[in-house]
């Protein structure tokens, strides 16, 4: 007798068989109906759907045999497992491999066998679909085709278990994904509410910080303004310092608020068309007292009444910041404002005769909280002003830059803003450009 051979890829084959999850499970009608059909078509007493395990053949479905398993070594299916398409043994007694097989010479006295290998979805041979008879038989090509057809059906059923498992797995993954999605949504909502909380906090903190500052600043101003009676002369200077400090604190709070709004993308702009000349005049008017106090000339050299597009309050803030910086870093001489009309935009220049900025410092200028070497001995500022100004100008479609700066000679800062789109604005711009040329 020849024992059933072991395939070369036995390990992988067994792994594949076991992943099917069919071994040692209960009989199922979906398989039994195939073996039943086979016995009826071929008029044979025995038909099995066999799974070939490491040491045994195990019948997922079985007609005509009392046991559900047998030894692999003496099994016919062990041979059929490796057949090309079909393994047919018309008379077992006439084949050297089987004539003395215990199942031939003893129960159930098998004389005929025909089996077709069954593959798993991954291509591994996991079992055999077969018919057996106790009489020798002729097996025609047509018979073979029918058996292969039935085996194909069985193979589909074997793999449908696979498919349903895959489907189940997919469902599980989908469920997990839905769970993750819900978690993300919840996390997102939490973040949104945190963001809102932060905004509210900032709004309230600004209020709470500003209230005592308003009191300090207001009271000292009123004292200095004589609202509480005459002020002792030697108190004027320290009281003035208290005022300057509280003003600085107010600016700091305002800057921090602006910065947080810019970073959160929540700075709001109310766009309108207005004359850049008006904005410059108003900003200069506001800062004239300060320049006079420092003995500096604050002058407007050339002002073209070009209508621009932007948020007029923000433009005034930018001007206030740039002129304010010049005033701060200039001890003698002048600060001069001028404009230059260019195609589709207007440039505004603020030139001072101040301390100037070194090349190194120019690179740091627009960073946040940068204190420059050149301005070290000047009263500290937050270093946020230029950063905020540039962000605001950019949001209005312009740019802000250092035109030139030299230590000991002075600096020129510049920013541009787009000309308004209206017809009137363009006509005014044209007229301005003509005047400039002539």
């Amino acid at each position: 007798m020849m024992q059933a051979p072991i395939p070369s890829n036995e390990k992988e084959r067994l792994l594949s068989l076991h992943t099917l999850g069919l071994l040692d499970t209960n009989p199922e009608e979906r398989f039994d109906r195939i073996t039943r059909t086979a016995t009826k078509i071929f008029h044979v007493p025995i038909s099995t759907l066999t799974l070939v395990d490491e040491r045994r053949e195990w019948f997922k479905s079985c007609q005509g045999l009392p046991n559900r398993e047998g030894s692999r070594a003496i099994s016919f299916c062990g041979h059929a497992l490796l057949a090309n398409e079909i393994f047919v043994m018309p008379d077992t007694k006439k084949d050297i491999r089987f004539f003395d097989n215990p199942m031939v010479v003893g129960k159930p006295y098998i004389r005929f066998y025909a089996g077709v290998p069954i593959m798993n979805a991954d291509g591994q041979r996991v079992g055999v679909f077969c018919i057996k008879d106790i009489e020798p038989r002729k097996f025609s090509k047509a018979d073979g085709e029918i058996l292969v057809g039935l085996a194909g059906w069985a193979e589909l059923e074997v793999n449908s278990r696979n498919l349903s498992l895959a489907l189940e797995e997919r469902k599980e993954i989908e469920q997990k994904l839905i769970g993750e999605k819900t978690k993300l949504k919840t996390a997102n909502k939490k973040l949104e509410s945190l963001d809102k909380l932060k905004d509210e906090f900032l709004s309230i903190a600004s209020h709470e910080l500003r209230t005592p500052l308003t009191a300090i600043n207001g009271l000292v101003s009123m004292i200095l303004g004589g609202e509480y009676g005459e002020v002792n002369a030697n108190l004027r200077e320290p009281l003035g310092d208290v005022n300057a400090s509280s003003e600085r604190l107010i600016h700091l709070v305002n800057d921090l608020l602006s910065l947080s709004r810019i970073q959160a993308g929540k700075m709001m702009y109310t766009f309108s068309e207005f004359s850049i000349a008006d904005a410059v005049n108003q900003a200069v008017h506001l800062l004239l007292p300060l320049s006079e106090q420092k003995g500096l000339r604050l002058t407007i050299a050339k002002l073209e009444p070009v209508i621009i597009q932007g948020d007029s309050e923000k433009v005034k803030e930018v001007l206030n910041n740039l002129i304010g910086n010049s005033l701060k870093f200039t001890d003698k001489g002048s600060i001069t404002i001028s404009t230059k009309s260019e195609p589709d935009k207007i440039n505004v220049y603020i030139t001072d005769t101040g301390i100037g900025i070194t090349k190194d410092d120019q690179n740091k200028l627009f960073g946040m909280f940068e204190q420059l070497e050149s301005g070290k001995d000047k009263s500290a500022s937050t270093g946020l002003g230029l950063h905020i100004s540039r962000e605001m100008v950019r949001k209005m479609g312009g740019e802000l830059w250092i035109e030139k700066s030299e230590t000991g000679i002075g600096s020129t800062f510049a920013f541009s803003l787009p000309v308004a789109k209206s017809k009137l604005a363009h006509e005014i711009k044209k007229a301005v450009d003509l005047t400039v040329k002539s």
């Binding site: 905004d199 209020h207 500003r210 005592p212 009191a215 600043n217 207001g218 609202e227 305002n254």
Partner: protein, 133 residues
Amino acid sequence: MAKALLLVEDDKILLNMYQKLFVNHGYDVHAAMDGEEGLRKSLEEHPDLILLDIRMPKMDGMTMLNSLRQDSWGKDAKVIILTNLDPIDTILQGVVKNQPAYYLIKATTNFEGVLEKVKEILETQNPNTNTEQ
């Protein structure tokens, strides 16, 4: 006769400060320390101008202003919102646009600025008052 101002402000120090300022400049100053009191005094005393804070206990300034505008006298009452809340912050969005009131930020408006604004508003004639005359 001196013009009557109603200051609605919950911060005692600021209230005293503004009170002193307006008394010095010849106004008849009345005070309320929350929105409820502010609304009651507005409707009882019919001041010439109300200076109104926003964040206050019991009733905030916006709620008080809304209630005031429901009243036949209050709908045309002159109001300056005098607060430290930025108009671009959530609570006030739309309010400055929709409410016929003036808006000043305390921290960035010096006392001369507040005085000036008060004087300016008291001098402007209410259009509705004109038609009544």
